[in-house]
Amino acid sequence: MRVWKAVLLMNLALALGLGVGWLWWGRQAQRLAQDLEAARVAAVPTGEREFRSTGVVRAGLGDLGLLVITHGDIPGYMPAMTMGFRTASPKILESVKPGDAVRFTLRGTPPNLAVTAIEKTAP
């Protein structure tokens, strides 16, 4: 065979090899991302769940049955923010005042959660 033909074939093979490698690399990255996503979805259990967090009470909206809390990270549910939560009973709403630092429990099927327990952490 003539050398130039061999070189041409070799270049084709190289380009093909690099292309396949590139695609494989992309596929690998994509699969990793998919696995991660699947794992994330699988990690979220369905049905009733319970979360605990700390925060500070900003207001009790008695008319709506809501307690507005500036809370820290709630792992698996939401990052730190100021947020109104439904309360399971009016007693919970009445037991705290704005400015109280609290530890609280959320229970329910996300996103339908309610504060089921709350206690002040500082006098």
Binding site: R2, V3, W4, V7, L8, M10, N11, L14, L18, G21, W25, T54, G55, V56, V57, R58, A59, L61, V68, T70, H71, G72, D73, A80, T82, K97, P98, G99, D100, A101, T121
Partner: protein, 651 residues
């Protein structure tokens, strides 16, 4: 050290591979026996060089693994090396390059019968292609791959730089070899071929040097970026050394071009002595090139100047800021610079002129020197080793508050409580301490202030033994805030179209037991209204803001309210006001210490744009500012084209 040597050998062999192959292509196919002998030599050397490149590449990978893992033992740990190869970008690049070199080695190892010109070109071209690909990919794993933003451009420029260097520098030894062979008694048949090769190489090299200079300039800007970086860091000084050797190479190359041009005539009249001289010079040039590659290998393992703290080597620097203090010198500098330009033009003209060259050269030199002599002295400013250092401590409220305390302890006796130079001890001093808030402070860098605090200045004692470096940086940050507060008097209660480029000092705060946040986290995302409030007068305003909070949020605003008594129980104090924006309960003291430098009013609102610049200060009683005006300001800020975010260092 071994890793560095390996890197150098690796780079050199990769460059020689590329240069040898492209030199062969440039010279072209031939059937003269001596030239064919040269061709065979280059290919044989190519095999050896590929083996060296592969071997030293493996050592360099091991060395890099040790650096990445942070333990020397990792260099011999196979699993760590595999991890580095498979999981990092640099590793992937090394793998691909290794693969290309293996293919190249295999290709060169096959003995081919290349009688046909097309076959010869195909075979040598393939060698060049593989070598170029392996060399160019070095860029994707070097400093260029870490340039942000514009990584792709940086890599492309670096590839151009590497390939141009490879073809030029790597071609030199191959050319020297050809010239050497042709000079021998038995090599007479190859002399016309050698002359042709030298001519073609000479023409190519000229273009390559242009590419090298341009891409090198771009790289310098990306990796060094400043004169202090060039003069004051290890990376910058290595670059200077490289430039010096490069200049020597260019001088030699310019001489060689003349020699090549002199190699005229047909085969019979070509002078062997001229060829021998050319060969010798080309060898010297190649030796210098090896030195440059050594410097490059060292640079590739030195942090880029942009990321290092420069140590200024001179006791003076040139600063245009000096003209702000002495405006009457502006015209002097202007005239001087024009005279200097005239001199430079005369020097350029002397190059073009044949007659009168000497007078023009001498006259231009004198005029240039005179112009510089007039223009430069007014720009000379004192400088210190730390002049261009960036503060180790960020421009943050905690540092400024600390600096404020330190200032009160150590500095107020002379400098006065607000830095006005009117402390109780100041009257005894001659000259009086300067006003630290005055605008001329901007003439001095943060590093200057740091040096003076540590080493003293005129009558001011040195505090280097009493204050730690971090405490000195705290003071520098406090002075920067003091000066900024002075400038901030120009800010109105509403946003002006032209920003004053005053960076709002960063601060960290928390609401109750929630995780702390900082102003910087809002950068690029939200406009921030920092409200320092005093109850009960401010309550109406806070409630008004709370009622419009939904609208203001949709306009991209976050409100951060700070009680002026730094009361940790601030939320309870606000009672049932239904205020849901952050009210600071932790970190308030530092924020107050810093922002009250700007305004000490009981109720004051600072508007900070998305880039972190202070844009408006509304001080006043409970009335504060009109929320409709605030909405208009937000719309104006939202319509603005994003100005550049502030640099981390101070000037």
């Amino acid at each position: 050290m071994i890793a560095l040597l390996a890197r150098w050998l690796h780079l050199t062999s990769s460059v020689l591979l590329v240069g040898g192959a492209t030199m062969l292509l440039l010279a072209g196919p031939t059937d003269r026996p001596t030239a064919r002998r040269w061709d065979a030599w280059i290919v044989g050397l190519g095999r050896l060089l590929t083996a060296i490149a592969l071997l030293t590449g493996v050592i360099a990978v091991a060395g890099q693994t040790a650096v990445l893992e942070g333990r020397p033992g990792a260099a011999l740990d196979l699993s760590a090396i595999v991890r580095m190869l498979l999981q990092t970008q640099a590793g992937a690049v090394w793998l691909v390059r290794g693969g290309l070199l293996l293919v190249l080695g295999a290709f060169l190892a096959v003995r081919m019968h290349l009688a046909d010109r097309t076959d010869w070109r195909a075979a040598r071209g393939e060698g060049a292609l593989l070598g170029l690909a392996a060399l160019g990919l070095v860029a994707a794993a070097g400093h260029a791959a870490a340039v942000e933003p514009d990584t792709a451009t940086a890599i492309a420029v670096d590839v151009a730089h590497l390939l141009a260097a490879g073809v030029w520098v790597g071609g030199l030894p191959a050319l020297a070899l050809l010239l050497g062979l042709a000079c021998q008694e038995s090599g007479a048949d190859a002399r016309p071929y050698a002359v042709l090769a030298a001519r073609r190489f000479s023409a190519t090299a000229l273009a390559l040097v242009v590419v090298l200079v341009l891409s090198g300039a771009w790289n310098t800007w990306a990796q060094v970026g400043s004169v202090p970086g060039l003069l004051g860091t290890a990376h910058g000084r290595l670059l200077l050394a490289k430039l010096a050797v490069f200049a020597a190479m260019l001088a030699l190359a310019a001489g060689n071009r003349r020699l090549v041009a002199a190699l005229g005539g047909d085969a019979a009249t070509i002078g062997r002595p001229a060829m021998r001289r050319l060969g010798r010079f080309v060898t010297v040039e190649a030796g210098l090139a090896a030195l440059v590659l050594g410097l490059v290998a060292t640079m590739s393992v030195t942090p880029p100047a942009r990321h290092a703290q420069p140590v200024w080597p001179f006791s003076v620097r040139l600063s245009l800021g000096a003209l702000d203090v002495a405006p009457e010198l502006r015209s002097t500098v202007l005239v001087g610079s024009q005279v200097a330009v005239l001199g430079a033009a005369a020097l350029l003209a002397s190059l073009a002129l044949r007659r009168l060259r000497l007078p023009f050269l001498a006259g231009g030199g004198v005029v240039l020197a005179a112009g510089l002599g007039i223009a430069v002295p007014p720009l000379v400013t004192d400088a210190y080793p730390t002049t261009y250092q960036r503060p180790d401590v960020p421009y943050h409220a905690a540092a400024i508050a600390e600096g404020r305390t330190l200032f009160a302890q150590h500095c107020t006796a002379c400098h006065g409580t607000r830095g006005g130079g009117d402390g109780p001890a100041a009257t005894a001093l001659n000259p009086r301490p300067p006003d630290l808030r005055a605008h001329h402070v901007s003439l001095h860098t943060a590093g200057d202030l740091f040096w003076w605090i540590g080493h003293g200045l005129r009558q001011m004692p040195a505090f280097g033994d009493r204050l730690s470096p971090d405490e000195r940086w705290d003071l520098v940050n406090f002075l920067r805030a003091l000066s900024a507060a002075d400038t901030a008097r120009l800010l109105g209660p509403t946003v002006a179209p032209e920003p004053l480029w005053l960076v709002a000092p960063d601060f960290t705060f928390a609401v109750g037991p929630t995780p702390a946040r900082s102003l910087k986290e809002y950068r690029g995302r939200k406009i921030v209204l920092l409200v320092l409030y005093t109850l009960p007068a401010s309550e109406a305003r806070l409630v008004e803001l709370a009622q419009r909070y939904a609208l203001l949020s949709t306009l991209g605003l976050e409100i951060v309210a700070v009680p002026s008594d730094a009361e940790p129980d601030a939320l309870r104090r606000l009672g049932d006001a239904r205020i849901f924006y952050p009210v600071v309960t932790e970190g308030a003291r530092d924020i107050l210490d810093t922002y009250q430098l700007f305004s000490a009013a009981p109720h004051v609102e600072f508007l900070i744009d998305r880039q972190g610049y202070l844009r408006a200060i509304a001080a006043g009683g409970a009335a504060g500012r009109d929320t409709d005006l605030l909405v208009a300001d937000l719309q104006r800020l939202n319509a603005e084209k994003a100005p550049p975010p502030p640099a981390e260092h101070v000037h």
